[in-house]
């Protein structure tokens, strides 16, 4: 195996991300890129400051920092799995990125290793957002002795968890290849990961509770998740780092051995709903929405979650339906062929209504069983309008993200930036309006106006994209 090939491929993947993801849609302009970077850096700095203030105020000098770090340690695997689910679903759509490497003189092992490293670096960036602020503030409050503790409690377990998940994924892919259902991994892998989340969530909660109890009772607590932390405490950070490196190398070796020798393209669509729908434009928009594998994955996640809530007798309003509404991000790009392949693509406003309408139909279909289950659990009828408004608003926002940061075919990463920026803005606006403490009627009017603004910008964005395609304006 040539290490230079691995390094070159790794570099190629990152160049792809930088040029084809961070340079498209709204990010095509340098001013927009700098603004988004500043927004993200400011958000991260603000988050770190907030985390520091909270940790100093509540845990500084109390001796509680250690159990808090332990609790964070046992939750690392859960968060690594959450991140892995997102990354895995995204990478499944990344055919174009994979195809980049097929015409190059590299072996499958080199490709697997380079891709694994690339995934790892993406996961690292995401984990940095989840645990970065906590790690920095813990060290700031606890002092330098906490640097090895944070490393052994957060970062070593995070990377090991990712590598183990990756190994599990490749083993599963091997099994699916043997069973000749490898093309269905777009459906099976997220299902397995979803069930993993359902299993690990109560385990993480239980572990956190046991840590708290052990601290109150003044006894030591150990679980496999705390292995690196325990090793660091008993043998020091250097031995712990060595064990971490050896473990990582062993898992990487196992990944290389488990990785399939060839790439099988995934099935991206499933034949659902009758053919006659294709006769009408709106019908075709419904077909594209229902047949996408991400929709099936999102619906399965919603159903798994609802059953989980039912089994554990947890009664919460079914905001989980919002997961289905995130499909709006792909609504514009997935239906682009319908507007591009004919000389008369239809009026922009009508196309926008078709985009949003098809998502509303999907939401309605999924909502019926989920809401019935929630009502049977004892949720009040009053909660339903709130959920409906939230989901409908989410459809509008998701559609706007897909228009402002259009994901290309085979390159789904473009949406990541859009999702991060939009969620940040939405959360800030929601919190801001909460501070104003307006009368509910006024808040409702403001939200209606904001949604109308979103609709306006979506239609304006679609018109602009169409005019760019016709070279009426420059991009």
């Amino acid at each position: 195996m040539r290490r230079a090939s691995v390094a070159l491929l790794f570099r190629l993947f990152w160049i792809f991300i930088l040029r084809r993801v961070l340079g498209r849609g709204l990010l095509a302009s340098r001013t927009a890129r700098i603004s988004v970077l500043l927004l993200l850096v400011t958000a991260f700095a603000g988050f770190t400051l907030l985390s520091y203030v909270v940790i100093r105020q509540y845990f500084g000098g109390t001796g509680l920092l250690e159990p808090v770090l332990q609790a964070a340690n046992v939750s690392v695997a859960f968060w690594a799995l959450v991140t892995y689910v997102l990354i895995r679903v995204l990478f499944m759509k990344a055919d174009e990125l994979l195809k980049l490497s097929f015409s190059l003189p590299v072996t499958n092992k080199e490709r697997t290793l380079a891709f694994g490293l690339f995934e790892l670096s993406v996961v690292f960036v995401m984990m940095l957002f989840i645990f970065g602020a906590f790690s920095v503030s813990t060290v700031l409050v606890g002092g330098p002795p906490f640097i090895p503790k944070v490393l052994a409690s957060i970062w070593f377990p995070a990377q090991t968890a990712y590598l183990l998940l990756s190994l599990g994924y490749y083993l599963l892919e091997r099994a699916l290849l043997t069973l000749r259902v490898s093309r269905l991994r777009s459906l099976i892998v997220p299902m397995v990961l979803g069930l993993g989340l359902v299993a690990i969530f109560p385990y993480t909660n239980e572990q956190s509770a046991q840590i708290a109890q052990s601290h109150v009772e003044g006894r030591d607590y150990w679980s496999p998740a705390l292995s690196f932390a325990l090793l660091q405490e008993k043998a020091g950070i250097w031995i712990c780092s060595l064990v971490f490196l050896v473990t990582s190398a062993a898992i990487v070796g196992a990944i290389m051995a488990a990785a399939p020798k060839s790439y099988v393209p995934i099935r991206r669509f499933f034949i659902l709903l009758p053919s006659w729908l294709a006769k009408h434009r709106f019908g075709v928009y419904i077909l594209v929405m229902f047949r996408n594998f991400e929709t099936t994955v999102a619906v399965l996640f919603v159903i798994i979650f609802s059953i989980f809530m039912w089994v554990y007798h947890l009664a919460f309003p079914p905001y989980v339906l919002a997961l289905v509404t995130f499909q709006g991000i792909y609504a514009y790009s997935n239906s682009e062929t319908l507007r591009r392949m004919v000389p008369f693509p239809g009026r922009t406003f009508a196309n926008y209504l078709r985009l949003v309408g098809s998502q509303t139909v999907l939401l309605g279909v999924v909502a019926i069983p989920v809401l019935s289950l929630s009502l049977a659990q004892g949720i009040s009828w009053d909660a339903i309008p709130h959920v409906a408004v939230f989901c409908l608003s989410n459809i509008l926002i998701s559609t706007l993200i897909g228009i402002a940061f259009p994901p290309e075919k085979g390159n789904p990463f473009t949406v990541l930036i859009g999702v991060v920026v939009t969620l940040t803005i939405v959360m800030i606006i929601a919190l801001g309006l909460n501070i104003f403490n307006f009368h509910p009627a006024i808040t409702a009017i403001i939200f209606i106006l904001l949604n109308l603004l979103i609709v306006g910008y979506s239609i304006f964005g679609m018109q602009r994209l169409e005019r760019i395609a016709r070279h009426e304006v420059v991009s």
């Binding site: 099935r267 991206r268 669509f269 034949i271 053919s275 006659w276 729908l277 294709a278 006769k279 009408h280 434009r281 075709v284 077909l287 594209v288 047949r291 996408n292 997935n334 062929t337 319908l338 591009r340 392949m341 004919v342 000389p343 008369f344 395609a469 016709r470 070279h471 009426e472 420059v474």
Partner: protein, 238 residues
Amino acid sequence: MNLTVENLNFAYTSRTQVLHDVSFTIPTNCIMGLVGPNGSGKSTLIKVILDLLQLQNGQVKIGSDISQSRNAKMSSIYLSSNDFLPEFLTGEEYLRFMHGLYGEALDCAALTSQFAKYSMAGRHRDLIEDYSHGMRKKLQLIAAFMLRRRLTVIDETLNGIDIDALRIFEGDVKELVAEGRSVLLCSHDFAMLERVADQLAFLIRGSMVVQAPVGDLIADHGTIADLANELIQVMETP
């Protein structure tokens, strides 16, 4: 005339003028071959004709309707060079969708026979996602032959289809224009153009340098390939 193009100019930016004063016509019952080296502006010309790129200068008429009108759009069909098709539909659904757009009912018997004719029997209920590159091209051809518009524009769609399908296509396209229709056929397959095209238009660096009956050109120059070589040499001579 089924297509009239007059004094067409097009530029992507102020510095990149792609089409220079292009004028030509396609009469009824005529297959016009459009040839030219890569980057000569063939696809741009086709897109401007079909109003997929904004008309900047000149005039384009399909029949008696200007290219931006609904009538013009309803009387033309475009087969693009890439296989940019809705992969979430089956072949049958794609044809149903296209027929819906043109306001026509899908003839299921005709569909089945067209699929069989192009060696795709029984595949019309498979997703386009599962079609090969050649099958996608054939599907586009089937759509054109079923919808039978006044003007059919084929932009290098024939690249990648097998010899058998090419032979069937040649028969079908001749039959199509025999009913008062026209075809603008952009291709690098000179031998096929010699067999099917009635006229030939040669585009070099955005200028229409030749438009003449294929028979006359062959009589004067031997083959289209010989003519192409001559023209390119002349254009490249400083």
